[in-house]
Symmetry: C2
Subunit: 214 residues, 2 copies
Amino acid sequence: MENGKENLSVATLRRMPSYLRYLKILRDREVKNISSVAIAKELNLNPAQVKKDLAFATKSPGKPRVGFSVVELIKDIEDFLGCYNIKDAVLVGVGKLGRTLLSYNGFKNYGLNIVAAFDSDPVLWNSEINGKTIYPIEKLPEILQASGAKMGIITVPKVAAQDVCDMLISSGVRGIWNFAATHLNVPEGVALKNEDLAASLAILSQQLTELLKE
Amino acid sequence: MENGKENLSVATLRRMPSYLRYLKILRDREVKNISSVAIAKELNLNPAQVKKDLAFATKSPGKPRVGFSVVELIKDIEDFLGCYNIKDAVLVGVGKLGRTLLSYNGFKNYGLNIVAAFDSDPVLWNSEINGKTIYPIEKLPEILQASGAKMGIITVPKVAAQDVCDMLISSGVRGIWNFAATHLNVPEGVALKNEDLAASLAILSQQLTELLKE
DNA sequence: TAGATTGTTAATCGATTAACAATC
DNA sequence: TAGATTGTTAATCGATTAACAATC
């Protein structure tokens, strides 16, 4: 999808959901309009950066003296994020984390739809969590190919993660969202995103350490 | 803690855990030594970047022609990340996600120790998950101040998140790890890290969309 | 009108990358 | 020795920020 603007960066993409979160709070408070300067202030960002970021998503320009309509801005950002979203995904590994993700309904706000789940434990087979059926892992190639899903979510233990990853890719998956705390090897042409709580923790800890020094 | 090097960036900190993950796989394969060039290749990074990153963590320099000892490098990076870590944290909100985090033992590799959990549901009070006792939320100020923990993990529903956040801060917490999908307002002097699955998803989706275009 | 806010252009800053002398 | 790898210096690149004319 073309959007006219060049240079959409990962940093911009990463900030989009935080704008959305703040805007939704404003909406709940029945605030009608907001300026990029005010958003920047609340989120501790630079106003010019916020203006540039929003320009990627907005369909109509902001109004001088007024700013942006909160509800319109929410809609524009949701559409913007949605336009990148691959609708269908499968999840492999119905342990604690897998269950949590299956139960989470927030993904649909971002256009993600988990169409099926897989696990090796026969006790879980054919049961449902949040309307999603759990299949034996052996059925993965068949169901995945039938569904056409291009994204795989890995929530299995470390030792199984690479095998599951290979299996997903050989069945047509092109994007891997890895929640297993291990390094995965993927071929060229496959996108990999490691969900890395350790990295978040490292950043927060470092900031906190700096703060406590003062 | 001083480390001699200037300019430790968030980007470097974010990459550290991924080095660690890959190195641990090498260790399991009984690989003895590894060069920064080889690490860069496997992780799709620039070799100069890997060299600079590792220089922040390593206690002794790598050997020309040999590279780094895998086990020493693991130890150095763990120490490096650990030196920033605030040992003690409390968790508020023992729902699905809170339970998952309480049960997860991987945090201790990064020096994080959850000392207590809180919830508003009386059914949970005084029960334990993974050795951590769950207390009524009213006891938060008392227990938090007694423990001296400076980090708070928020896993409550959206609507309660700001109140919990305020409560944590007024009881001495200086770092907030927010898993609730909402914007939080924190005063200056408090570090906030939003754990943002939506942002990850946006990045992965965008990459996947690009890949599927080709 | 006056002035707040817009979007954009140009300057700055910092991270990434290339190149290379030093080393074993 | 020859050459792979180190750590570092200098060049490049891209993101952030400041400044400002245009707008209502």
